[in-house]
Amino acid sequence: MEPPLEQYVDALKEIGSIGIGNAVTALAHFLSIKVNITVPKAMFVPIEGIFDVIGNVEAPAAAVVQRVEGDLSGTLMFFFPKQNALELVTRLLEAPPGSIQEIDEMGQSVLMEVGNILTGSFLTAISGMTRLTIVPAVPMFTFDMLGSIISSSLLCTGMVEDIVLLIETEIFAEEHLVSGDFAFFFDVGSLGTLFKRLGL
């Protein structure tokens, strides 16, 4: 771990909170329900330790993954455990409860749309606050074991560093019937620009 980076963790948590707050407001609006979030965790994690931090890596999850480039680069990820993903799709399609058991193409595009809204509002908040240019790529969808999703999405362009910065929040609504995780893996190399802009 790199101690000099640790001093920035509070600032990063703050940024995470603002971004996530914005995203969750958008989600609540979309679903017309009250959505809660936990206080974001921000931490520097060596790549070999990611699975220990995330936990539950063999569990099936639906994930929307989006690469972000520009002044700030990294990988944004929303993941929902299978049951929660099904619940979310059921609600958004206004299907009878229990009628959707698998995530088909329709379900996929619904979840991608949700992911889009969340990542879009997260990034808007961050770029508004920092005046940094952030360019999101096309979001991607996958349904698999959580660990495989995470390791593969970190492999994208540029994400070859030994340590990643992870900002993570749990999102939940209606007594955890709808809940998921939001994670932003920053490329540590791009953090300098962010700190400079924030005057840190």
Partner: protein
């Protein structure tokens, strides 16, 4: 800070876990496990006579393809496999008997973003094959490609490699 996860498996055999870009070696009766192989590739080297083996979780193909990130050589197929080899030999394996098994290299995502994907899974598999060939180690079994993630387990008593995938039966290679 991040302790290697150690636990006793179902039959009381010690299991050790290998993180991303890490490797572990050991002798029987140990089970070496890596979770979350998506486009990453798991490489096992095993000596059936001395019952010594190791497992490496490769993330990227060749160090020369990247401008940064050399600080952790076990991320790369071309640098990591020779390190794994050195360590299993140190543990008592005999090079003449070493067999390799590989799994992973999936294409996980649906979506149109080619820049993101870069066929990294395929390139990882290819780099692993070439590196093993250059070291004159035979690949005796493999389960690569596709679109699903895998969990890979090496049983050092038998050399069996067990693979778990979502929505399919446990598979042995």
């Amino acid at each position: 800070m991040f302790e290697t996860a150690r636990k006793l498996g179902l039959n009381g055999v010690l299991e050790i876990q290998v993180g991303i870009a890490e490797f572990k070696v050991g002798r029987e009766p140990l089970v070496i496990v890596t979770l979350g192989l998506g486009s990453c590739v798991g490489v096992t080297l095993y000596d059936p006579y001395n019952r010594v083996g190791g497992l490496l979780h490769v993330m990227l193909p060749r160090v020369a393809d990247f401008t940064k990130g050399v600080s952790k050589p076990t991320k790369f197929a071309d640098l990591g496999i020779p390190i794994l080899l050195k360590e299993v030999l140190k543990m008592g394996a005999d090079r003449r008997f070493l067999e390799a098994k590989i799994a992973g290299g999936a294409q996980m995502f649906t979506g149109a973003d080619n820049k993101f994907q870069l066929n990294i899974g395929e390139r990882n598999v290819e780099a692993v094959r070439e590196t093993l060939k250059a070291l004159a180690i035979k690949i005796v079994a493999e389960d690569v490609g596709g679109s699903r993630g895998r969990t890979m387990m090496l049983h050092t008593v038998t050399g069996r490699v067990v693979l778990k995938m979502l929505g399919s039966q446990v598979k042995e290679i």
